[in-house]
Symmetry: C2
Subunit: 349 residues, 2 copies
DNA sequence: CTGTTAGCGCTTTCAT
DNA sequence: ATGAAAGCGCTAACAG
C-alpha cells in the first residue's frame, strides 16, 4: 500500500479553487457549516464531489489541532492471543463503550516482544494509552511514559505518575482461597505466567520475589495467606504455571498436579477458563468436584455460571470503561475497583 | 484530555538547538541513526532526555510521509457487541497477526449507527479500511469509498471497485442444510438479523429480497435450496430472526419454534453460539438432539467441538489475515475462501 | 556526515 | 460571511 498506489490526493485548496472560494471557506464548510453561506457551502460540496475529495485529511487535522481523537491500547506481547482471552476482550469492549461515546477511535498497538516495541509505542498517533496488565520490567512502561501523554494501567504494575485501575488482587485471592482451601490438607494453584518469558512450570512454593507480573504476584500472595491460614506452609503448595490463559493448558497442568502421590484436595485457578480445564482433569482422573477436589476460577465470565464455578467476580468491561474515562481526564473515584466472591458448586464450604 | 492538560510539547527543533546541531541531524538520529556520527547522536539523545522529548510526533510524521502505518477496522453499528461475538474476535485476531508483521497498528473505528458515522470514517487517520460484514444499504460503504483509500470487505456486500473476502455462503448453507434436513418433514432456521434495524421476528418463508445483509441472504437462499431439495417449500420453513448473535436469544427463539403444533425436526442456525442455544431449548422441551431435532451451527468455533455440533468450518482468523494482506496490496488469490462441513453428533445422517 | 530549502494539508487568529 | 497570514512538527531532496 504505497502512496503511489492510490490516486494523487485531492486537497482542500483544489476544492476551494474549483468552487471559486477561499481555502478558509472550504475549511469552514466542513468544520463550521453554520458559518458559511448556503451558496458557498453547496459550491464547495459540489466541487468536492467533482474532484472526489473525501474530506479534510485526518493526519493534517491531527497535526494542526494537536489531537488525534484516538486512544491507544496496548494488550501485551502476544497481540493475537489477547483476542483469544475473554477477559481481555471484555476489557476492550469497555474501552469501546467509552470511546464510542466520545467519538474516539481506539488503536490497538501491536507489540511483538522485540526491541521495536518502544518504537511502535512512540510512533502511535494517539492521545493517550491504556495498558493491559503487564510485568514490572516491561519496556513498554518506559515507552508510554516517554510520550508524555496520559497513561492508565490496568491491573499493574503501579508506576509513579501513571494512573492505575485494579481490584485488590491479593485480598480477593485470599478470600476465595479461604473458601477453596477449607478442610483441605493439600492444595495447589494453577497460575498465569510469572514473567514475560511465559515459561510453564510445576514447582512447590515458588518464590514470590521472582514473579514479575504484579497481578499474578498479588494473587499468589493471597493464596499463600489463605493456605497458611489453614495451616499449610507455602513451600507445600504446588504451583502449576501456564504460559497462556486457556483451558487446554490448564487441564494438562492439572493432570500433573493430580498425579502426585499426595494429590491436592483443592486447586485454585487464575481464570475461569483455566478452572474449566482443571475441572475436566479432575473428572478425567475419576474424581469429583467438589467432594474430592474443590476448584475455583476468576472473573465470573459466562462459562463460570454455566460450569457452576465458585469464582471472583469483577467486571473487566467496567474496568476497561474506567480506564478510558480516566484517560479522558475524568478523575478516578478510586484506583481500586470492586470485586466479590460468587459461590457455586465447585467448592465445598 | 485537552491539550492544555499535558505539558507543552517538546519539538525536534528544541532538541536540536540544545544539542547544538541542525534539525536534520536530530531527525536523522531517530530515522537513520546510521547516517549520524556517534557524537552527534549521543548529544541529540542526551538533549532529548533532558528535555523529555518522546520522539518525533506521529501526526507530523504521518502528514509528511503520507502514511499513518495504521489500518482501520469497521466492525458494524454496535462496536461493543462486536467484542462479544467470537467470530468477529477471531477475525480481528487474524488482522492483528498481519498488522503486527508489518509494524502496523489497527484502529477500531467506532460506529454508532447515527449520521455521524460517515464523519468518523472520514476522520480516521488510517491507510486503508477493512469492513466486517455489513448491509447493502450501509452508509459506511460510501464513506470508505470516498476516502479513496484501499478497502476490503469481509463477507459482503460485494461493491464495485472494492475487494471482497468471503466464503460461498449460499453453497455452504445448502450443503449443511442437506445434512440437517435429511429425513425431516418440518424444518426451521434460526437466523442472524435481516437488516440493520436488527428486528427480531418469527415467520414462515421470509422474502429473501427484503434481506439487506448479503451474508444472511445467501445463507437463507442456501437453506431454501436444501429444503426444496427434500420437498419442503420455502413458505413452510419458519425463520426465527435474532437481533444479536448469542445463545440466549437463539434459545428463546427456538423455544417459540418448538412450541408450534407441527414442530420442526431440524433447526439450522447461523452461528455455533446460536446452535448451542437451540440445543438447550430442544433439551428443555424434553426432546433429544439429533433424534427428535437435528441442529447445525456455523463457524466451527471451540464450542462446536465441545457441544458435538455439526457445523460449517471456516477460518475467520485466516479471513481476517487475508483482508489485511489485501489492504497491504498483496493480490488476493481468490475472493472466495474455503469452507467445509464438519459432521458431529447433532445431526442424524 | 551535516545542513538548507521547501513544503505535507490543514486550521487558528485576526482582519475585512 | 469571508479571507490572508502564519504556522502545527516533521522529513524528502538535495546540496555542501
Amino acid at each position: 500500500m504505497t502512496t503511489s498506489e492510490r490516486s494523487r490526493r485531492v486537497t482542500l485548496a483544489q476544492v476551494a479553487e474549483l468552487a471559486g472560494v477561499s481555502i478558509m471557506t472550504a475549511s469552514y464548510t466542513y468544520n463550521r457549516p453554520g458559518r458559511v453561506s448556503e451558496r458557498a457551502r453547496s459550491q464547495v460540496l459540489a466541487a468536492a464531489t467533482q474532484l472526489g475529495y473525501g474530506g479534510p485529511d485526518p493526519s493534517a487535522q491531527a497535526l494542526r489541532r494537536g489531537s488525534t481523537r484516538t486512544l491507544g491500547v496496548v494488550l501485551g506481547e502476544h497481540l493475537p492471543y489477547a483476542f483469544d482471552d475473554p477477559a481481555a476482550v471484555s476489557f476492550l469492549a469497555g474501552i469501546a463503550d467509552v470511546c464510542t461515546g466520545h467519538g474516539y477511535g481506539m488503536t490497538i498497538v501491536p507489540i511483538s516482544g522485540s526491541a521495536e516495541d518502544a518504537q511502535r509505542i512512540t510512533s502511535a498517533a494517539v492521545d493517550g494509552f491504556i495498558l493491559w496488565t503487564t510485568a514490572d520490567d516491561d519496556p513498554v512502561l518506559a515507552a508510554v511514559q516517554a510520550t508524555r501523554r496520559p497513561v492508565v494501567i490496568h491491573g499493574g504494575p503501579a508506576v509513579a505518575q501513571l494512573d492505575l485501575v485494579s481490584i485488590d488482587n491479593r485480598e480477593a485471592a485470599r478470600a476465595i482461597g479461604a473458601i477453596a482451601f477449607a478442610g483441605a490438607r493439600r492444595v495447589a494453584v494453577v497460575s498465569q505466567p510469572l514473567d514475560r518469558s511465559r515459561v510453564s512450570s510445576v514447582a512447590a512454593g515458588c518464590d514470590l520475589a521472582d514473579v514479575r507480573f504484579p497481578v499474578t504476584r498479588d494473587r499468589l500472595a493471597g493464596y499463600r495467606a489463605a493456605a497458611e491460614a489453614v495451616g499449610i506452609a507455602w513451600c507445600d503448595v504446588v504451583v502449576g504455571v501456564c504460559s497462556r490463559n486457556d483451558a487446554a493448558e490448564a487441564e494438562r497442568t492439572a493432570v500433573t498436579l493430580l498425579a502426585a502421590a499426595d494429590r491436592p484436595e483443592a486447586i485454585v485457578a487464575m481464570s475461569d477458563q483455566q478452572a474449566v480445564g482443571v475441572v475436566r482433569a479432575v473428572r478425567a482422573a475419576g474424581l469429583t468436584v467438589p467432594e474430592d477436589v474443590a476448584v475455583t476460577g476468576w472473573d465470573d465470565t459466562a462459562i463460570a455460571a454455566r460450569s457452576g464455578l465458585t469464582t471472583v467476580a469483577q467486571s473487566l468491561r467496567e474496568q476497561g470503561a474506567a480506564c478510558a474515562r480516566t484517560v479522558f481526564g475524568q478523575a478516578l473515584d478510586s484506583c481500586t475497583t470492586s470485586w466479590s466472591i460468587v459461590r457455586r458448586s465447585s467448592t465445598r464450604s
